[in-house]
């Protein structure tokens, strides 16, 4: 009888450990994830986005699927609004609205049963649109390059929260006087983000 109880205990413990391991490693093993993020761009450098705007909270969506071991490939969409603070440098309108659609490749590294870190590279097409209410003041397009790292905390049942830290560089299309063109054809930002991830 004792042996049967021991055997049962071992079986139950083994199954539960196995399930727990699967659950805890879900950060790195799930085939698909989807995340929603709020982020704050901290702009810097000698460029119009930094010198003539204040950044507001932005929002992003991102989804990936596992393609090889812990590598994931996906795409996403970010948008944010910048308030114009220096109209002499920009023009007579209130806001510059930013959006970007991008492709991303990341690698999931579980650090413990609950934590994981995810370095990520992405490249996308960005647009900066001048706005005053419903009135448009032109669209400036470009390419966006981003490198960042996510820290994920696995809550339960395939839901986690994360903190995101990204360096974002935009190379923008622009025709202007050569003396000022570098001020208008690029932007640099560190994006601090928080979000929720489903995997």
């Amino acid at each position: 009888m004792k042996n049967i109880i021991k055997l049962l205990f071992i079986v139950v413990f083994g199954i539960s450990t196995s399930l727990k391991a699967q659950y805890e490693n879900r950060i790195s093993t799930s085939t698909l994830d989807f995340s929603i993020e709020y982020f704050k761009p901290i702009t810097f450098g000698s460029n119009a986005i930094h010198k003539a705007h204040d950044s507001n909270i932005g929002m992003g969506f991102e989804t990936h699927c596992r393609v090889y071991k812990a590598f994931r490939f996906g795409f996403g969409f970010n948008f944010a609004s910048y308030t114009v603070t220096n109209r002499k440098l920009i023009g007579n309108y209130n806001n510059t609205n930013y959006n970007c659609i991008f492709l991303a490749l990341n690698y999931n590294i579980p650090l413990s049963n609950k934590f994981g870190i995810v370095p990520e590279l992405s490249i996308g097409k960005s647009r900066f649109k001048g706005k005053n209410g419903s009135k448009n003041y032109g669209v400036q397009g470009g390419s966006e390059y981003c490198i960042g790292i996510k820290t994920i905390y696995n809550l339960s049942g395939g839901v986690g929260v994360f903190h995101n830290l990204n360096y974002v560089y935009n190379n923008l299309d622009m025709k202007a006087n050569p003396g000022i063109i570098n001020f208008y054809n690029q932007s640099h930002a560190i994006n601090f983000g928080f979000g929720i991830i489903f995997f």
């Binding site: 109209r87 023009g91 007579n92 001048g130 032109g138 025709k175 006087n177």
Partner: protein
Amino acid sequence: MKKIIISALTALVLISCGIEYNGEERLRVLLKIQDNDLNALEGIEVQIDNLVDSYNETISIGHTKSDGTLDVVFPATESDSARYNIEFKDPNNLFASYRISNIKKTDFNNYQLILDPQTLYRYSDLVNLQITRNQINSHRYLGSTNIIGMKYLSDIDFQNGTELPNYSTNTFFKVFKNQTIILEYAIQDRSTQPYTIESFSVPIEINEEDVTYTIDL
């Protein structure tokens, strides 16, 4: 439902109207503003409007720095037929405002326009010359008027440096104090066929006060 559709269509039409801009093309204007003693003027408001067809919008506003300079950048219009006006206004109302009109996109060299130093004159240096009509005969009309003397130009055509006409050009002039100006005018008599036109030239003494000159018709 009908009202909603009409409102939506109206909003759509309003949104689609107006001047279109190219966000990937920026124009730059560099200028300096001074008084007639060549002192730099700080805080002068500079407003740049663009005109495309019947639309007119202010695309840039700035104020001069302590050295009188201003450097502004703004998005270009999509249309190459756009005209730009630059208006200079003193928020303290010590200096008379004026405007440079009819600047074309082709006047920008490599997306940049550098204006010659602009001189603002104090209101205290100027007086108004008002021409009024004393209608004695109903068939006589005031034709063209012109003054020869130091006239303050309030709206200058960038293309040729002349004053652009406006509704009061014929009968209202801002002129500098302490001078004698010559007023030239023509009177048209429509009682005969063809009409007859008489030309006149009269000197008017301008001192420290506004002047009203009456023409008998």
